[in-house]
């Protein structure tokens, strides 16, 4: 088995054993559900319900505004309590629809639908858009925009990103192990949009059971193959994965389509299948509730809008005093100062850490470890200095705008410097000013 992979990267402890053998369990929320109107890249969704109104599970509650946007659906039946700004994972107050769960889980009747095999490409894209599907690996880019490339014939690879390179996270892994045929059907649907493309299921070599399960599921599929790569962070970063699969390097200004690729997360492909084969909108996702602070870490099928505060109890409560909560994996996840925020389309997990690493930075000793691991071949130590000094010109000349924000440099830094966050901060600032 050849392992083509990118240069650089790091090898954090995987810590997947907490949940890798735990079957996905459906979780029924207890408290109110909160649906932020912006869980994606693009325009904020517009509410179509008002307080006091009764909604059903799967009902549209906010419609997309403009083309690059995504609608939001209720994930339970109940009554709309309010439309008001609520705290979200990002740390920002975002207008949200609050629904009081009536515990009935009364579903809205699924629309009349032909089998997806008989649909036109345009209808498939419309249904994906109407189901509110966005990139569920964390980017939150509306999937129908990603799939609506100018020339579908130029797409050579549809890559399903099953690398799940973040430590602790096992949601994608469980999807692949438990319902490989559903994932394959989802990929089949996407492939039907790109007649010349090959479907690639990309995994890391530590996911033996998923590889076996998928091999069985794709054995009759002539247009699909499984590719196994080295277990290394950030193997699942889009640009890294495209390189591993195709050998093509794209810079930050290009889209995967420029390299003839479409990259979709496992969870996203599953959502596409539900939308086109079952007519269901995106109302739930796999989410790993894990960490050393928990008694019984689990993989849950969580309804979007569920409060993170409910999840530790669903995982048996605390074993040790939790010191830090992270939404997502430990490398790129967002620390949650307060668990009273809702699960969004892009939330892959809740990590309850029993140890809070307070990284007190010391002086850079110029060891070059950051340059050694940077998958983009940058000089993070230098860029971080330039970011702190706000030297825009030189920051750009040293390719600072190419930073992935994977955090590998911060991970290895012996001086414990927050390299990646400072570079990303500068990058975002320059992007906001329209400078590249």
């Amino acid at each position: 088995m050849a392992h083509v992979t990118f240069k650089g990267g790091v090898f954090p402890h995987k810590r997947k054993r907490f949940t890798r053998e735990k079957v996905l369990e459906e979780y029924f929320p207890k408290g109110d559900l909160v649906y932020p109107l912006l869980q994606h890249v693009g325009g904020m969704a517009v509410p179509v319900v008002s307080p006091g109104e009764r909604v059903l599970e799967g009902q549209l509650i906010a419609k997309a505004s403009g083309d690059i946007s995504a609608p939001v659906h209720a994930s339970v039946s109940g009554t709309v309590k309010a439309v008001e700004p609520r705290m979200t994972v990002s740390g920002k107050m975002i207008p949200s629809i609050v629904v009081e769960n009536d515990g009935q889980y009364e579903k809205i009747s699924a629309p009349e639908m032909r089998p997806w095999q008989e649909m036109e490409a345009g209808e498939k894209l419309r249904r994906i858009r109407e189901a509110g599907i966005v990139g569920m690996g964390g980017a939150g880019f509306p999937t129908h925009i990603k799939l609506a490339v100018q020339n579908p014939k130029k797409i050579k690879y549809v890559i399903v990103n099953g690398t799940e390179c973040e430590p602790y996270m096992t949601g994608d892994y469980r999807r692949m192990v438990e319902e490989p045929e559903k994932l394959v059907e989802g990929l089949e649907i996407v492939l039907s949009l790109f007649e010349r493309a090959v479907g690639v299921l990309a995994l890391e070599d530590n996911k033996r059971d998923a590889i076996t399960a998928l091999q069985l599921a794709v054995r009759k599929e002539s247009r699909m193959e499984i590719r196994v790569f080295e277990t290394k962070y950030p193997q699942g970063a889009e640009r890294m994965l495209i390189y591993s699969v195709t050998g093509m390097e794209i810079d930050s200004t290009r889209l995967p389509a420029d390299a003839g690729c479409i990259v979709l997360n496992v969870e996203t492909v599953c959502a596409v299948r539900r939308a086109l084969a079952e007519g269901l909108p995106l109302t739930q996702r796999a989410l790993t509730v894990t960490g050393k602070a928990l008694k019984n870490p689990k993989n849950l099928l969580v309804r979007l809008g569920t409060s993170f505060a409910e999840l530790p109890d669903a995982a048996g409560g605390f074993l040790k005093e939790p010191k830090k909560f992270v939404c997502g994996g430990p490398m790129r996840g967002t620390a949650l100062p307060d668990l009273n925020v809702p699960v969004e389309k892009t939330s892959a997990g809740l990590l309850c850490m029993s140890k809070d690493y307070v990284f007190k930075p010391s002086a850079c000793i110029r060891c070059g470890a950051c340059a050694e691991v940077c998958p983009i071949h940058l000089l993070p130590a230098r860029l971080s200095e330039l970011a702190v000094e706000e030297k825009e010109e030189e920051f750009r000349r040293m390719h600072g705008m190419e930073c992935l924000g994977c955090g590998s440099c911060s991970y290895v830094c012996p001086a414990r410097k927050a390299l990646a966050p400072s570079i990303q901060g500068m990058r975002r600032k320059l992007l906001a000013q329209g400078k590249r």
Binding site: I226, G247, E249, D251, M353, K360, I365, L379, E402
Partner: protein, 319 residues
Amino acid sequence: MEERKYAWTFPHVKGTMSTANVMRMVLAALLPAAVFGIVHFGLRALLHMVICMITCMLTEFVFEAFADRPLAVTDCSAAVTGLLLSMMLPVGAPLWYGILGGVFAIAVMKMAFGGIGKNRLNPALCGYCLLLLLFSDTMRNYSFGDFGSSTLLGQFLQGTVVDPFPMILGNTNGGIGQTSSIAILAGAVLLLAFGIIRLRIPAAAAIAFVATLFLFGGRGFDQLYFTTQLCGGGFLLGIWFMAVDYVTSPITKNGQILYGLLIGVLAAALRLRGIEEAVVYAVLVGNLAVPLIEKITVPRAFGQQRLVKVHNEKHGGAA
């Protein structure tokens, strides 16, 4: 509050390496050569080491305490400087040389530049250079036991025919930690195994050194000649422990190779002029060239200018 801010930024896990760990591993890698020095030269060698290390650490501590800087002396980097300095001294040197060299190395060459990470030149080498300039006779007097004042390499550079083999095991005179090539190479293996250093700098330096001597030394493939040149004059300690110093070497990968080559060529050129401590000057000049080297070796970022790089047909990683 400042500290909490860092705790909320990604990544939320960290590798095990810290500055103190790095320095402790370097100390461990220096142990074989240091222990050999003590066994070979006796307790006076140990005394030199202790004096140098304590001087360096104390100087840094005093400086940090009085300049109201964050206390970084616990990271052991001053101990490394001290040990390296002592390992270059001849065993017969007065014990206060270590104090003078250590204070100069830390106070002037490290702390005055802004402390760890800010110095442009290797502090241990600077301390050694100062002593060499001030007391060139004593510092070149390597007499010990039955051995005369000049080293095998020294005699060789004067034109005497010498048998270089004692230099491999270390049964000869020289700097306290410089005589045993085997002990230094054992330390080098440790550095590589710990993942502290990469091969680029020492390998480039050794190759350039040998190549230059081959081209201009006029001795062809004379094995005795190369063994004497490589094992003598602290060359191995220089390329494996001085040239690879993080702070004073380039952080770019290509820059490290260029820097190694520069040091190798310079060291060989100085040796050809008959200078025994060639590697000391070569590394210091290399240190000075680092900003320039880094400027011209900024790596190409992933995906820039080379959109298509085909490796797929060759490897095709299908499961």
